[in-house]
């Protein structure tokens, strides 16, 4: 079934900009069913009346009928963007579009599952009055609040940036669920950087928006003053927590040694701005190429270059997410995953990889390109006669295999291993002679690692964290396409100490029962130190620090 959906291009207060259209439509065909809400197999809008708390009926779905081949959601007034049904449909379509961006064949090449283990992500488009929006695993939901500012009511569910940002937290949680409980500040910062870049990519995926940006910047996204002026224009109206300043922060030259090592938001800028520089160089490079190829002036090829560049960049930064080792990860772990994924994607073209390495060194994320070296494309005897289908399907077989071949996973001896659900993905790869689909088995194992908690009583003296390895195996050749193993040193451990100490001092990290309410269920705005024994704790729900837990 084919269905047409409207989405807001930009938030309502700024999209009056230069006569730009407020909405654009897109068509979808992949979903097995549509219900009022909108409700589909993987998403469900649940709208509540802000006054009474009663559930509000969702927008009505009109299926194709007669000679009308396209289904749609009937809106009382399609031009009234403040009507509840428009807000419902917009939040839904923006989340769906974001989801597709991750799942496409040149990106993850697989459907994303939610971290909470249920089929539907719930979307609450008018969650209440607050200048905020968040993803919350425990309630399976994205919640978008509204607030009054400058004489008008602002619905965060109408902002493409905010919806894409929060949706990507939910999507990334499904891909790398351990980040939700991570205590390495860079793990949380990675969540935030990916969310900001997703918002950017969603903006660049809009043809109208690309055109406005390029008109305003003379065809270059490198020009920081012009670009940030546009960025600011887009961000000004909807800036609940100063968060939408992300567009400007993408141009920040900041390096690792200039930010506090335990602050995820500040850290995330180092990564997102670093990756953005790769995007800028890619855009410039594509423009030069198209100028050469077509003889047209730079400005007129800049739109095409941005369109193509956005796609390449998107596969570069998202495809890597499936390669992340389980557990705590650092920016360097992510950098290695990006390089491994790109090596597999474009074996013959080292261009983006070289820019990545330069940027990671310039930002002082690593000190040399040796630290970004990944083991790719090698053979291991254990894989030659392994039954990959069984390994993919049976936890038992996978566990036995991993336990037997610890060396293949780079796992330490004498620690219990845990196997994660294997992924059977088919992705599109590009070679000099064209593209082809490659089937890959992604096999992850994890293990516990113990270190001093660094916190005084009543916190236990030791903390447990998760480490792990990812193996990507070519289904056909049985060669290992990439192996990524957690690499954590003293620095990462002291970063964790610093974060947890800061949270404990602020009363946000609470031991055991103190992180629960009077009914024994978790408090919403607390990071929990789970007491495993007198001597051992582990940390839970740190990702809520990103948006849900108000600090200060």
């Amino acid at each position: 079934m084919k269905v047409r959906l409207p989405t807001m291009i930009q938030d309502p207060l700024t999209s009056r900009y230069k006569g730009m259209r407020l909405q654009e439509s897109f068509y979808i065909t992949q979903e097995p069913f549509f219900l009022d809400g909108p409700v589909t197999m993987r998403l469900a809008v649940v709208d509540f009346d802000p006054e009474t708390g009663a559930r509000v009926p969702g927008a009505r779905f009109v299926p194709p009928a007669g000679d009308r081949t396209v289904g749609y959601y009937a809106l009382a007034n399609p031009y009234d963007i403040y009507a509840p049904d428009f807000i419902q449909v917009n939040a839904f379509s923006t989340v769906l579009k974001t989801l597709y961006m991750f799942e496409e064949a040149d990106t993850l090449g697989r459907p994303v599952a939610w971290a909470f283990g249920a089929p539907q992500l719930l979307i609450v488009p008018r969650a209440g009055e607050w200048a905020n929006a968040f993803y919350e695993r425990d309630s399976h939901s994205l919640q978008f609040f509204y607030f009054d500012a400058g004489g008008g009511r602002i619905y965060t569910a109408l902002s493409r940036d905010i919806v894409a940002h929060e949706a990507s937290h939910a999507i990334l949680d499904g891909i790398a669920p351990d980040l939700y409980n991570a205590c390495t500040p860079q793990s949380l910062a990675l969540h935030e950087a990916i969310a900001d870049l997703t918002a950017l990519l969603m903006a660049f995926s809009s043809h109208s928006l690309r055109r406005v940006v390029l008109e305003q910047t003379g065809g270059s996204i490198r020009d920081s003053t012009a670009f940030s002026a546009v960025a600011e224009e887009f961000g000004r109206a909807l800036d609940p927590a100063g968060r939408i300043g992300y567009l400007r922060s993408l141009l920040d030259p900041v390096t690792m040694d200039q930010v506090p090592r335990s602050e995820p938001h500040a850290l995330s800028v180092v990564l997102s701005a670093g990756l953005y520089q790769v995007m800028v160089r890619l855009h410039e490079w594509l423009k030069q190429r198209y100028v050469r190829e077509t003889g047209k002036p730079e400005l007129s090829v800049s739109g095409r270059a941005l369109g193509i560049g956005t796609r390449w960049f998107k596969s570069l930064i998202f495809r890597a997410l499936d390669y992340l080792p389980p557990g705590e990860v650092t920016f360097a772990d992510y950098g290695r995953a990006v390089l491994a994924a790109d090596q597999a994607l474009f074996p013959d073209n080292d261009l983006l990889r070289e820019w990545m390495r330069q940027e990671f060194i310039r930002r002082r994320i690593v000190s040399s390109s040796a630290q970004l070296a990944v083991e790719t494309d090698f053979e291991h005897p254990a894989l030659l006669d392994a039954d990959l289908q069984t390994l993919a399907e049976s936890d038992w077989a996978a566990y036995f295999f991993a336990n037997e071949h610890r060396d293949l996973f780079g796992a330490p001896m004498n620690v219990p291993l845990r196997v994660r659900p294997r992924l059977d993905v088919t992705k599109r790869y590009y070679f000099r002679e064209g593209s082809r689909d490659v089937r890959e088995l992604i096999f992850k194992v994890s293990w516990d690692h113990y270190e001093p908690s660094g916190l005084g009583r009543p916190f236990p003296a030791q903390r447990q964290i998760t480490m792990g390895a990812t193996l990507a195996v070519d289904w056909e050749t049985r060669r290992v396409r990439a192996r990524l193993v957690s690499q954590h040193g003293q620095q990462e451990q002291s970063d964790r100490d610093e974060l947890l100490d800061r949270l404990a001092s602020a009363g946000l990290l609470l031991p055991g029962a103190y992180a629960l309410g009077f009914d024994g269920k978790p408090l919403r705005a607390a990071v929990r130190a789970e007491i495993m024994s007198d001597e051992l704790m582990r940390v839970r729900r740190t990702a809520n620090l990103l948006h849900l837990i108000p600090e200060g």
């Binding site: 469900a44 009543p458 001092s505």
Partner: protein, 380 residues
């Protein structure tokens, strides 16, 4: 020569502490100064029993021998710290007088006129309290004894009446904070008092309020017409969402409780080389503030904050400042906790008490009968 004595009464869940300090008059003759810190207990459950106040106040009167208290301290506006004297006055017909009374700065009648930011934050807390109270009174099945206790303890109307009464306990009433001039209020010759908390601007103790979505009925079965899941959505998942959406009320109730605790008057008392610290119910935010202002010093006595809960225990580096290990001088060290189990969640906390007991001699009102007292004596 006489010793300084801290007498801690068992009022179940609450505080009542009498300090008797050997001192001298202007003419140089010996005299004992008496200071009473708080008097109250929670109003619900086994943790509150008002009959206890009669023998306690009689004991205080016998110590005073017809003279007024030199100082009465109301650390903060929680029923378990303020409700005893008004009760004794109206229900038992016995009163205590004091020359001076210290009330926490934010209890001053004009405080919120002078501090608009604190007013804004207080109003947000009060509004949240009213919503939570309304919600819980409509859903008695959710109201556990612990929830009832924290709700009562923070009831602004009841607390307000008690505070009004306490304004007139002292012949002179001072609304104090760190930096407030307390010299000769009261006059002490051999002892020195120093206020360490709260800060004058109480707004630093108020944390932000989470949205609560309390307008939907608590009992889902009564609201099937307005609160049923949309077609295609699992009912269990839907009701979990409804519940999670209002879940912030637990956070908010604790934030309300925490804000009042953090406005506690915390003061140090120095006498003949002994240093005593009375911490009220100060929680982490207040400990942090004192720590960062560099006020805290090693002490020989600690009135354990907030009835032995984790929230009242100074975080590790601060505890190491107040009760360093090993002790910096040879003198014995004591801590006293006034508490009662089964009232507030996880109070008292065994790990907290263990940690304190590892550093000093820990005394607890749990060791003595209701209405009785324990004495800690500091020789000259």
């Amino acid at each position: 020569m006489e010793a300084l004595r801290v007498r801690c009464y068992n009022v179940r869940f609450g505080d009542a502490i009498l300090i008797s300090i050997p001192d001298r008059t202007a003419a140089g003759s010996p005299i004992t100064r008496h200071m009473l810190i708080d008097m109250g207990n929670v109003l619900s459950g086994a943790g509150g029993q008002d009959e206890l106040f009669a023998p306690i106040i009689q004991d205080i009167q016998s110590q005073l021998r017809g003279r007024p208290l030199d100082l009465y301290v109301m650390t903060h506006e929680h029923l378990d710290h303020v409700q005893g004297l008004p009760y004794a006055h109206t229900k038992l017909g016995i009163s205590l007088q004091a020359r001076h009374a210290w009330l926490t700065a934010s209890a001053a009648p004009d405080y919120y006129d002078r501090h608009p930011e604190a007013r804004r934050r207080l109003e947000a807390l009060r509004q949240a309290y009213a919503q939570i109270e309304r919600f819980l009174s409509a859903s008695p099945s959710l109201l556990s004894p612990a929830l009832q206790a924290v709700l009562n303890n923070n009831n602004p109307r009841q607390t307000g009446d008690c505070v009004d009464f306490l304004r007139s306990v002292g012949r002179k009433t001072w609304y104090v904070y760190r930096g407030y001039d307390i010299s000769r209020r009261p006059a002490l010759r051999d002892a020195k008092l120093e206020i360490w908390a709260p800060e004058e601007d109480a707004s630093i103790y108020y944390s932000p309020i989470l949205p609560m979505a309390l307008n939907a009925p608590a009992d889902f079965s009564l609201a099937l017409d307005t609160l049923s899941p949309p077609a295609g959505v699992d009912a269990g998942t839907f009701y979990n969402l409804v519940e999670m959406r209002r879940r912030g009320f637990m956070d908010n109730l604790l934030a309300i409780d925490r804000a009042a605790n953090n406005t506690s008057i915390v003061f140090g008392l120095e006498w003949r080389g002994w240093r005593l610290l009375f911490a009220g119910d100060a929680e982490i935010r207040s400990w942090q503030t004192m720590f960062h202002k560099g006020i805290l010093r090693p002490v020989h006595f600690l009135k354990v904050s907030h009835h032995g809960s984790f929230n009242g225990l100074p975080p590790a580096p601060i505890l190491d400042t107040v009760l360093p290990q090993p002790a910096p001088d040879g003198r014995p060290r004591h801590a006293v906790v006034s508490t009662f189990p089964g009232t507030y969640n996880n109070v008292p906390d065994a790990v907290v008490l263990e940690e304190l007991a590892a550093r000093c001699t820990l005394h607890s009102t749990l060791e003595i009968p209701d209405g009785a007292y324990l004495d800690i004596v500091f020789p000259p």
